[in-house]
Subunit: 308 residues, 2 copies
């Protein structure tokens, strides 16, 4: 039988030190030295809601729980520094699940230079719940918000969309390096990571930017092969999946048109899949333009996490 | 029926702005400007484990969940800045519970100048889970760790202990101002908040300080009237409750003996209940000295959150 302190010690021994984290696991708080503004994001994943233990292994859950938070840091063009992991473990198998979560998080933490600097370990009769908070730092260029899109801005995405349910949603690649490279190259007006779906997340950017609209070129949307595969089964057009599926964790960004040209001409490192998909407009609403020039209004289908 | 975005908007409208928090609820991350080192702590509370909905109201749960995190910031002599609240809400009553949690958190957040700057809102078939992360900042005097106790240091506690189960555990008073006042007045070598019980938490300080020991004067321990009340029922001595009950959320600190004299002579604001209870020793182990000078070894009874 694992004990709480035994498990914390097991993790503490494996948690790598990191510059900027003078105090990690083992005190009342962790202490971090941040170069710029602190960026903070938190995400809770629950068994039966965001994953199913049995279909997904604990290390897949650990990976995803950390990755979605890193993706939020990426969406601000920030650098991740430290992660804090709180868990409610099913008591029958608490230790094995905890170690599995850790095994999933570790390679990701190492790759992105994130210290596992604290958390809270509990067991109970209920299903697995994992809540990760990541603290990052803004670069000298500042954090990129959702709210800075301007009429005329070009809209770009960092990779193909749709069909993540086939498995990709469990192993998203946080676009941290891509975001930093893009923000280094040009002034990014607004950015968001695509978790609710391209249409819904673009809707968030437009709303936060003062009630703007956008026109998306249907043929310009990069459609993932998984969206094509799902479309074969359900008969809906692949582009519908690319617009609405969610959990892609690619970035959607708004930049001045000249800067879009610049980004697409001299591709920043890792951004080979960057595509321009449309333009921000001062006319509210989201419109999809087909090859023949016809436009139709599309409604974001936001995922409501309160509706079960 | 509440929607996720409706609920987030409800909270966002009520969340007060705060200097140092340029970006709160509504983006991928919050952004904070911190004056010193970032202090980060996270605590997860689960229905059936840390409270029982029905016995405790949602606003009591919200209060406690925030208070225990503020207490961790206090234990480092830090200033709390922002709170991040992730919840798994029982779907049958998600909106009402969420608003109740908020009503419990709000007065505490206002009193301690903490911005509710982000979170994650979910509903499910399971019991209520709330996970709060608080980010604070160290003062110019630096964060106080658990690990700096020295042989000869005086041990002090900020208030009476024991019997919190009678109800006090639901409404702890985070000793943030007290910790700042004490740390301003003297050099605090080590500090911890008493959550697992005086004996267990003193054990943590002694272990983290390099395997030291301590002698506690039995008669000097401030025993809470609730400990006396519980002792009447269970027949155990009140001091046993003061040593082992936990969830007091008073602070235990180690300072040089002269500084202890100074603190007790010129009481810092709010620290009228401060008491000297013993001394740190280089002889490992925790010993309790009774009025006749006899010493007995006491074993910390740590609460194992993995053992159900």
């Amino acid at each position: 039988m694992d004990t709480e302190f035994g498990l914390i010690e097991w993790i503490r021994r494996r948690a790598a030190a990191r510059e900027g984290v003078p105090l990690g696991i083992g005190d009342d708080c962790a202490a971090l030295r941040l170069a710029g503004e602190a960026l903070v994001t938190t995400d809770m994943l629950m068994d039966g809601r965001h994953f199913r233990l049995g279909e997904a292994t604990p290390d897949q859950v650990g990976y995803k729980a950390l990755a979605v938070n890193l993706s939020d840091i990426a969406a601000m063009a920030g650098r991740p520094v430290a992660a804090f992991v709180a868990v409610a473990l099913p008591k029958d198998n608490a230790g094995a699940i905890a170690r599995g979560l850790w095994e999933g998080m570790r390679p990701l933490a190492e790759r992105f230079g994130v210290a596992l600097a604290g958390g809270d370990t509990n067991a109970w009769d209920g299903p697995l719940v994992i809540c990760i908070t990541v603290v990052g730092e803004a670069t000298a260029r500042g954090a990129v918000r959702r709210s800075g899109a301007k009429p005329g801005d070009a809209l770009l995405v960092t990779g193909p969309l749709g069909g993540s349910l086939l498995g990709r949603h469990l192993r998203p690649r946080p676009r941290v390096a891509e975001a930093l490279a893009i923000h280094e190259a040009v002034d990014v007006h607004a950015m968001i990571d695509i978790s609710d779906g391209l249409a819904a997340d673009l809707g968030h950017v437009l709303e936060e930017s003062g009630g703007l609209g956008a026109v998306i070129d249907e043929g310009a949307i990069p459609v993932h092969e998984d969206a094509v595969a799902i479309a074969r089964d359900d008969g809906r057009p692949p582009v519908e999946h690319a617009l609405h599926d969610g959990e892609d964790f690619e970035l959607l960004l708004a930049v001045a048109p000249d800067d879009a040209d610049r980004l697409l001409a001299g591709t920043p490192p890792g951004c080979e899949a960057l595509r321009r998909i449309g333009v921000v407009s001062d006319r509210p609403g989201l419109r999809l333009r087909s090859a023949d020039g016809a436009e139709r209004v599309i409604e974001p289908r936001g995922f409501d996490h309160l509706a079960c």
